[in-house]
């Protein structure tokens, strides 16, 4: 796109970020049952900005302008629809009082952060399925459109729209509130929030053809929300661990593919292309995750990511430490995917033959059926042992599994490396 000098006045993602805060703020005022009214109101405020600013120029404080207009739109809608029944007058009064909020003011900022936080916690209520939680968080707090969410999920618009409708109905019918749960329930909810954020992050992180931008936005949004939770009073060490993990991984995003869009393995990545700010952010939160005694899965994963980030060149990576961390991770989460990742560390420390023995039992695991990475790792290990034709067979089988185009190209390249087959 052409460079517009004027656009510098608009912060990156201003609309998207303000949309999330405005929806959260209005949902508090209008009540969670009127979530869609809050969303429509914010949409309308943005539309008015689009229709006004080009003719009249950028307002002095664009965020404050959006908030004021959103309040006015909400007041009109509440008066006109009478959806709120006898509560109408009280809510109009509240909206009128709130309409003078000026974002950027410290008190207001704190209130808005609190609104957003409560909103995330409501979206991650156990009554709502996880897929719906992710979609709802992206839509309401993340300011993503149905189409953008659908693109990120590789789903069609109607599926996502339905998922959102169901989630909003659940909020209404189960009378979910923006109250923060207390005691043990808070802990459980926090776990579910972290799970949703990590799920969101991984949705964005998975390599897929095209749509690269929207997926990176997804990662960054998960990271932003994670930091929001981490900055709140309820932040537990495991929150910092997850933020650290996401920051370390996000730092690698620019180095993950080459100019042709082909995947580059972690080992072969040009570390100069890792984002130093994100790596720094990762270490900051990693340090903070160390307080307390609890060791969560995020802690161990963040520790592995930190070990990768700490090594200045890939040869200097501390593989025995990484293997030790994978042992811990496997103890916390004995999943076949973790076992597969651990096998890579086993290969580095004890050699490919031992790693092959480690993955052998995984080949019968139904969870890893059609999982191309298992076959790709197997092929890689066989190659290292010089068993070329078996390696080629493995890559061939991997290509038959569902995987994205960049992954497919990667596998073909690997297959080519096996050399001519007899």
């Amino acid at each position: 796109m052409t460079a517009f000098p004027e656009t510098g006045a608009l912060l990156e993602h201003l609309f998207r970020h303000q949309a999330g805060r405005m929806v959260a703020h209005l949902t508090r005022l209008l009540g969670p049952g009127n979530l869609s009214l809050a969303e429509e109101t914010v949409q309308e405020a943005m539309l008015r900005a689009l229709q006004t600013w080009p003719y009249q120029g950028l307002p002095e404080n664009p965020a404050a302008w959006l908030f004021r207009v959103a309040h006015n739109v909400a007041i009109d809608a509440v008066r006109r629809n009478q959806v709120l029944g006898e509560k109408t007058d009280a809510i109009v009064a509240e909206l009128t009082r709130a309409s003078i909020v000026v974002p950027n003011h410290p008190d207001v900022e704190e209130q808005l952060r609190d609104d957003e936080l409560r909103m995330i916690f409501m979206c991650c209520h156990p009554e709502i399925s996880r897929d719906a939680s992710v979609a709802l968080s992206l839509k309401t707090v993340g300011g993503f459109s149905v189409r953008e969410i659908a693109r990120a999920f590789l789903a069609d618009d109607a599926t996502i729209a339905q998922r959102l409708v169901r989630a909003r109905r659940q909020i209404r019918e189960q009378r979910l509130t923006l109250e923060m749960p207390g005691g043990g329930e808070l802990n459980e909810r926090l776990d579910s929030v972290l799970e949703v954020l990590y799920f969101m992050f991984n949705k964005g992180y998975a390599a897929h053809e095209g749509e690269e931008l929207i997926r990176q936005d997804l990662c960054m949004e998960a990271l932003r929300l994670g930091r929001l939770v981490a900055a709140s009073s309820i932040a537990e060490p495991r929150v910092h661990a997850l933020v650290a993990l996401m920051a370390f991984q996000a730092a690698r995003l620019p180095a993950r593919v080459d100019e042709a869009g082909d995947l580059i393995l972690l080992e072969d990545q040009d570390r100069g292309r890792w984002d130093p700010r994100l790596t720094g952010l990762g270490f900051h939160h990693f340090d903070r995750s160390m307080s307390g005694d609890g060791v969560s899965e995020y802690h161990v994963q963040a520790a592995i990511a930190a070990t990768h980030a700490r090594a200045s060149v890939s040869a200097s990576r501390d593989w025995p430490l990484i293997l030790y961390l994978y042992d811990q991770l496997l103890a916390i989460n004995p999943s076949p995917v973790v076992a597969l990742n651990r096998a890579v560390a086993v290969a580095k420390v004890h050699g490919p033959a031992e790693a092959l023995a480690v993955i052998a039992p995984l080949e019968n695991d139904p969870k890893l059926r059609d999982y191309y990475l298992l076959l790709a790792v197997r092929g890689h290990l066989l190659m290292e042992l010089g068993r070329r034709s078996e390696a080629a067979a493995s890559f061939h089988a991997a290509l038959k599994c569902p995987c994205s185009e960049p992954e497919r190209r990667f596998l073909r390249r690997k297959l080519g490396d096996c050399g001519p087959l007899s």
């Binding site: 998207r16 303000q18 914010v42 080009p54 993503f144 459109s145």
Partner: protein
Amino acid sequence: MPQYMLLLHSDPANWRNLSPEEMQKATEKYMAWSKKPFTRDSHRLAEDVGRVIRSEHGKPRATDGPYSETKEILGGYYTIEAASYDEAVKLSLEHPHLEVGGTIEVRQVWGS
């Protein structure tokens, strides 16, 4: 230099499904165009389509809009300077309004 009025019509429904991000992008593009050196003036019209006054049976009467069959409404207008009508049209062809399905009416301001 002759002046031209660009009347921007659009169907507000075209915008309904845009995400905040897309709306911001569109806003930025519009604003960039508005700041081009040939732009003299720009005004946005209130979105209420207002009322039309016409004479019926010899009596002036105000009726509510919309006053035409089209769903498009006049959202705002620019005054620009151009050497000729053709050039004014050429400049308008680059307006982002057209990317979102809007219509631009180009009229010369007489006497300018």
